[in-house]
């Protein structure tokens, strides 16, 4: 099985260091109020994690699909934007 990290390693990115384009509005809602934590399952790039009772989000490998925003429809807890123009994923093939 090829891990998601290995898959992402093949991609080209221009990372906007320290300026994540996706933010969690209220982390305590993720940690305590959310039942599905659908973002952690559905994100194709494994950007979302839930470990030791805490939600985690690292957007460096983000494929800009919008899934995390859409699956958080019950809580609307994802503040989702495109990376600054020119940054983010650069598909070679797409």
């Amino acid at each position: 099985m090829m891990k998601v990290e290995e898959k992402l390693f093949q991609n080209r990115y221009r990372v906007d260091a320290d300026r994540p384009h996706i933010r969690i509005k209220d982390e305590s809602l993720c940690n305590n109020g959310c039942v599905s934590r659908a973002c952690t399952v559905c994100c194709p790039a494994g950007c979302w994690s839930f470990e030791e009772g805490k939600i985690g989000l690292i957007t460096d490998g983000c494929l800009e699909c919008g899934t995390c925003r859409v699956v958080c429809d019950t809580h609307g807890n994802v503040d989702w934007n495109y990376p600054r123009a020119g940054f983010g994923i650069l598909f070679k093939f797409g």
Binding site: C42, T67, F91, G94
Partner: protein
């Protein structure tokens, strides 16, 4: 942009197939067009399987075959209904597809979008990349009069704004022109581009020259979710992907990356990609809500085209052709208004919808309007039938001491056990109804 008081006839947001078709058609007819794209180059944010349907592009650029970066001409289509260790399939291969002009081609979107954008620029449109539209500008009456981009003083004005910004269409939903997409109306697809020597691709798929094969798959690979997978041959690579409805994906525990890995390991797929090198992993949403999920398509000073309008026929995996056709029709509507000296009011832009209704875009979406609901509520089509079909084939093609009549009975009983006789009849009726 500081002292920009210049006004454009049309601003097109996005440089995918929908935006490119619109910008090309308008620029070619002499309109003053500005096209804005957030990616470093057109295609750098875009993902597709990808099959290109010639007809839609031919209506825009008749001689596209002379210069477009086409991978292979599809001469063979396979459909596989899969179980964990097997598939039941059909193959249609015809040499007639080899005779020019080709009807379907495999493409690589990053290359294709770049090419299309070059044609748009040659036609006279001003195309600016690395610029994200963040909002729409409106006058006191609420009419859209331009866009705001992510630069200082980034206000740009136009008579009409065409939103071709794709499935997420943040611009349209934030401006309140449409609702945000719902998990039940959108599929998430993941895909790898796997490189193999050209000769290997041709030997494995029995191809010569620029011939190509496409395989569409459904069944156990989507683990009970509404979804399909695909394998397309490019010149020296294979595009392999799988997509499932987000509402289903939400309700289970397999990640999209794992789903794709399982597909790669399926005994029918693995030998086709063996020894290949994955050089990219991509993901993208597909609007699959169909006719009932369509938003308003136009209003005062604005039009929606392509994925931002939800124009995808999930059953036939058609999207880019509907994107191009809707982009062209939006442009032709504006050209008609221009000729008649009419402004871009909602009442006048209603002609866009009339054109769509008279085209493949809304005719096909209407025809398949009940498919999404049928697949959501009738799970047997996704899980029971693939298993039953494969079971039946196993039974039928395993030669043992039992006679054929006994085997047929066993097959029939298997179907009846899983779906009652009434259920079977009902399913046939439902599928027929949904595609009428």
């Amino acid at each position: 942009m500081t002292q920009n008081i210049e006004k454009f006839d049309v601003i097109v947001v996005g440089a995918g197939p929908a935006g490119n078709a619109a910008a090309y058609t308008l620029a070619k007819a002499g309109k003053k067009v500005l096209q804005l794209e957030r990616g470093e180059y057109p295609g750098s944010k875009n993902v597709q399987g990808a099959i290109l349907y010639a007809d839609a592009l031919e209506k825009i650029i008749p001689d596209f075959r002379d210069s477009a970066p086409l991978e292979r001409t599809v001469i063979e289509q396979r459909m596989w209904v899969m179980e964990d260790e097997s598939y039941v399939g059909t193959t249609f291969r015809s040499d007639r597809f080899n005779q020019m002009p080709g009807n379907r081609y495999t493409i690589i979107r990053a290359r294709f979008d770049k090419w299309f954008s070059e044609q748009v620029q040659k036609a006279g449109a001003l195309v600016i990349c690395e610029m994200t539209v963040i909002a729409l500008l409106r006058d006191e009456s609420g009419k859209v009069i331009g866009v705001e981009v992510d630069r200082d003083d980034g206000k740009i004005y136009a008579e009409t704004v065409i939103l071709a910004d794709g499935v997420n269409s943040l611009v349209a939903s934030r401006a309140g022109l449409r609702e945000d997409i719902k998990p039940a109306a959108v599929a998430l697809a993941v895909k790898e581009t796997i490189f193999l020597p050209k000769e290997t691709v041709e030997a494995r798929f029995n191809l010569k020259g620029s011939e190509g094969v496409v395989i569409e798959m459904l069944g156990s690979i989507s683990q009970g979710m509404a979804g399909t997978a695909f394998l397309y041959t490019n010149k020296d690579s294979i595009s392999l992907g799988i997509g499932c409805m987000l509402s289903d994906m939400k309700a289970q525990n397999t990640t999209p990356a794992e789903l794709l890995e399982k597909l790669k390991q399926h005994p029918s797929v693995a030998p086709l990609i063996a020894g290949g090198e994955t050089r990219e992993y991509a993901a993208h949403l597909i609007p699959e809500g169909g006719y009932h999920a369509l938003p308003e398509l136009y209003g005062e000073g604005w039009l929606l085209v392509g994925d931002s309008a939800g124009f995808v026929n999930a059953v036939h995996r058609e999207g880019s052709n509907l994107a191009m056709t809707s982009g062209r029709l939006a442009a032709e509507t504006l050209l008609e208004l221009g000729e008649k000296g009419l402004p871009s009011t909602a009442a006048n832009l209603a002609r866009y919808k009339a054109r769509l209704e008279d085209s493949i875009v809304l005719k096909d979406l209407k025809k398949y309007r009940n498919i999404p609901d049928t697949l959501h509520s009738q799970r047997q089509f996704l899980s029971d039938y693939p298993a039953l079909l494969n079971g039946a084939a196993h039974e039928f093609f395993t030669v043992d001491s039992r006679d054929k009549a006994t085997k047929e009975k066993a097959i029939f009983n298997a179907f009846r056990e899983r779906r009652s006789l009434l259920g079977l009849l009902g399913d046939a009726y439902r599928l027929w109804r949904a595609t009428r």
